[in-house]
């Protein structure tokens, strides 16, 4: 069997709120799972069970208190929990992508440029990046008349689809999806499912959170139940 692209082992996370007299909020405890190339692992469980926190820890956006988060970069294994900022930035450039449900709007940059620039980040040539951006925006039903405009003025749904196009445009071996389909209509959800299938066929490992059951059932190879990693909340 191929080696995992990401493997978590004994991962725990808590927040210490210094402004609340050092109150400690424990989020998850002893999280262990792995995702291999071509596999989509879905994190399941109610809101507040720490699913997003886990994606953010893999991406290096949240610190990891204990445990290891091993991400494979070619022949090298990098432990995100202990890696230098520079190493994490290099992983983000070449190995792992993160798609949330919100577009952080960059003023004055057009929708097409945003998506194409994202494709180019992973090493795609200029022409290929543009072609891919156009394909994704077309598939995701973003009207062509909007492509040359900055998405700041788009509707919420249009912004979200630009965001998905941007997140799926680059070729990276590991994708972290934080509810990318939330509040999309059925037609666009189906498009996202198809794009995820394409990624899996290309050997991408995916760790995702999907609240829509239809999407989850279609893309998930495995569901990791967060209840297994719950902390004892009572203190």
């Amino acid at each position: 069997m191929t080696e995992p692209l990401v493997s978590l082992s004994g991962v725990a996370k808590s927040f210490t709120l210094h402004l609340r007299d050092g109150m400690r909020i424990r989020v998850v405890d002893n999280v262990s799972f792995a995702a291999r190339p071509g596999e989509c692992v879905v994190l399941g469980g109610p809101s507040g069970s720490g699913k997003s926190s886990i994606l953010k820890m893999i991406y290096g956006n949240y610190r990891c208190d204990t445990g290891t988060i091993a991400v494979r970069d070619g022949d090298e294994i990098v432990d995100v929990a202990k890696a230098e900022p520079r190493r994490i930035l290099a992983l983000r450039a070449h190995v792992m992508g993160y798609v949330s449900q919100f577009l952080r709007v960059i003023p004055r940059v057009s929708a097409l440029d945003i998506v194409a620039a994202s494709a180019a980040e992973s090493g795609l040539g200029r022409q290929d990046a543009w072609c891919r951006a156009e394909r994704l925006l077309t598939l995701l039903n973003v009207p062509e008349r909007l492509w040359s405009l900055p998405p700041g003025t788009f509707s919420g749904g249009e912004q979200q689809r630009v965001n998905i196009a941007r997140g799926l445009a680059p070729d990276r071996p590991l994708l972290l999806l934080d509810e990318p389909t939330a509040s999309l209509d059925a037609a666009n959800r189906a498009v996202v499912v198809r794009l995820i299938e394409e990624k899996k066929k290309a050997g991408v490992a995916i760790v995702g959170i999907f609240h829509d059951e239809d999407v989850r059932d279609k893309v998930a190879d495995r569901v990791v139940d967060m209840a297994a990693f719950a902390t004892e909340k009572a203190a």
Binding site: T16, H18, L19, N61, P107, R108, V109
Partner: protein, 260 residues
């Protein structure tokens, strides 16, 4: 090892005391090519003192700053001769100041402000200097027909953009920025930030930017150092420090701003 695996700049144990008062205490940091480091903190935290030390504008009480020159030699900056230091400042470095009047020559035309830096690196051909100046005015979105105007006739935002053109025309590898966007209207600020972001990525610049504005740090920087009372209290990936701050003071800073 390739150059990108060696830091461009390495500071170790930098301290600056003004008599009994601490300007900055035992600061160490590395900066690599193409990396943007934000130094944040409230006024009086020592962030501007640190910038002055790193840019060799003031000598440290103790500590060292090493810099990898264009020829690959690593030099201790405070051991450079004054001539070497000035050459570095004019060619391989840029310094974008909060007050454009300190970074520009107000009685010299816009084109002259940009051209002057080119002449400092040996360019003598008038036509080429003017051509390059014109090109750079365009890149910072200043109309070419303003090339002969004085910066004192420019708006605050235009002056700041002119200062950027003046600094980048010699293709420096390292640019220091001291609150480059504060003092500007919000809309002007957004345009300037967007321009800076594009230029920094396109040119692969290493930048050390001092700002009290966490939103500016988030938009521009890869890494961040939080300073308080002259010391670095927290450092790491910018989004990690802002989204999951561990120190009490950083949590206070982050929670005190509107949607940074």
């Amino acid at each position: 090892m390739t150059d990108s695996e060696h830091p461009l700049l390495t500071a170790r144990g930098l301290s600056k005391h003004y008599g009994p008062r601490i300007g900055c205490e035992a600061v160490s940091c590395d900066l690599y090519e193409g990396e943007v480091l934000a130094v944040v903190g409230e006024s009086g935290s020592g962030k501007s003192t640190l910038l002055k030390l790193l840019a060799t504008e003031t000598p440290p009480t103790s500590g060292s700053v090493h810099y990898r020159m264009r020829d690959g030699a690593v030099r201790e900056l405070f051991a450079l001769t004054e001539a070497e230091r000035r050459f570095l400042l004019r060619t391989d470095w840029g310094f974008v100041r909060q007050d454009a009047r300190e970074g520009l020559r107000m009685s010299v035309s816009a084109g002259g402000n940009v051209g002057e830096r080119l002449m400092a690196v040996g360019e003598r051909h008038y036509g080429r200097i003017r051509g390059t100046a014109l090109d750079w005015l365009g890149r910072v979105e200043i109309d070419g027909d303003r090339i002969d105007d004085l910066p004192r006739d420019f708006s605050g935002g235009m002056r700041q953009r002119l200062q950027i053109a003046r600094n980048l025309v010699t293709h420096p590898r390292l640019v220091f920025m001291d609150e480059p966007t504060s003092g500007l209207d919000v809309s002007v600020q957004a345009r300037l930030l967007d321009l800076l972001r594009g230029l920094v990525a396109e040119l692969g610049l290493a930048v050390i930017i001092v700002t009290h504005d966490l939103a500016v740090a988030r938009l521009l920087s890869h890494r961040i150092m939080v300073m308080r009372h002259g010391r670095v209290i927290e450092t790491g990936l910018t989004d990690q420090v802002l989204d999951d701050p561990s120190e009490a003071y950083t949590q206070l800073l982050v929670s005190s701003v509107l949607a940074a």
